[in-house]
């Protein structure tokens, strides 16, 4: 089955959950409804799509607008040697999305990193805590609302010159 036919099949399977489909630099980009991220990726993991690898998962803060945080998933199919990018926007107030830890083990730390940096909650994550920053760190440093250059030292520092 060709890639175009698979995208059509994806639309058919997920229905209204697929908001947009486009092609960027030769790879398909699918914009999803945030509520259906988990079932959509579960379907994509199985045949005939066969996207067996979760290459990367990241987040973008667009600072304004309804869907402020945009989650970006990168999938890769070993059997067909194609990549797929999925995007889902979540609102600023209480950004939350379903966890993928049940589908891919590596989603664990990827989701912890996003939680740490952007404060997006992942429902169903077994141990959602900070990954990169330290205990006692307040806020989420990659949010656009995080004060520029605000450091949170753990030990006393001499002041800035």
């Amino acid at each position: 089955m060709g890639q175009e036919a698979l995208i059509d099949l994806l639309r058919e399977k997920l229905g209204a959950a697929v908001r947009d489909v486009s092609v960027s630099l030769g790879d398909d980009v699918v914009v999803l409804d945030p509520g259906s991220v988990r079932p959509a990726l579960a379907a994509l993991r199985e045949k005939p799509f066969d996207y067996a690898v979760l290459l990367d998962m990241t987040c973008v803060d667009y600072a304004a607008g309804e869907g402020r945080f945009e989650l970006v998933y990168h999938l890769y199919s070993l059997s067909r040697n194609v990549r797929l990018r999925l995007k889902a926007s979540v609102p600023a107030g209480d950004p939350a999305v379903a966890s993928l830890t049940g589908l891919w083990k590596n989603a664990d730390w990827l989701e912890r990193e996003i939680f740490d940096m952007f404060g997006v909650r992942f429902d169903g994550h077994p141990d959602l805590k900070r990954l990169l920053t330290y205990e006692g760190f307040e806020g989420h440093p990659l949010r656009k609302s995080y004060p520029w250059r605000l450091a949170q030292p753990r030990i006393p520092m001499k002041d800035d010159v």
Binding site: T133, A151, Q152, P153, R154, I155, K158
Partner: protein, 158 residues
């Protein structure tokens, strides 16, 4: 008394000479400057020529702390502890732009110069510094050691 003064001065010189040519260094390496440190430490540039060839991997056996690479706020307490574990007399070289001033990073994560945590004797700027600059920094530190007031076990404390 004048004879004793003469001996004291000679002892200072001897101590300085001994200390500057037997710098046991502890490499605190966190980032890409480590490559340049390896280059400076190995055969091509060879800091052993200046008596600083003995790398100790315990701060308790070292008297020169080489801080090489970016120091983050997460790592700052570790660096402070390593410095505190070293015995007197001890010296610190800030190796590379990140340790000198935070380098290209000015954000939530990076300490803006390790002199905000521990005292620094010699700053070697550069991103990364050439091994020649490292050797120059080492010679400057040796010069500093030779000419500083030497502290020793039975020295009279003011």
């Amino acid at each position: 008394m004048s004879g004793l003064d003469f001996v004291t001065t000679r002892l200072e010189t001897a101590l300085g000479w001994g200390r500057k040519f037997s710098l046991f260094h502890y490499p605190f390496i966190t980032a890409c400057c480590g490559m340049e440190y390896m280059s400076a430490a190995c055969a091509h540039f060879d800091i052993d020529r200046f008596g600083a060839g003995l790398t100790r991997f315990s701060p308790r056996q070292a008297d020169l702390l080489l801080v090489v690479g970016t120091i983050t706020h997460k790592l700052a307490p570790v660096l402070r502890t390593v410095y505190d574990q070293m015995l007197e007399p001890k010296w610190v070289i800030a190796f590379g732009a990140c340790t000198v001033s935070g380098g290209i990073y000015q954000n939530y994560a990076v300490v803006q110069g390790i002199d905000r945590i521990i005292p620094v004797d010699v700053y070697i700027p550069g991103c990364p510094p050439r091994p020649e600059m490292v050797l120059d920094g080492l010679l400057k530190l040796q010069d500093k050691i030779q000419h500083q007031k030497q502290d020793w076990r039975w020295a009279r404390k003011p």
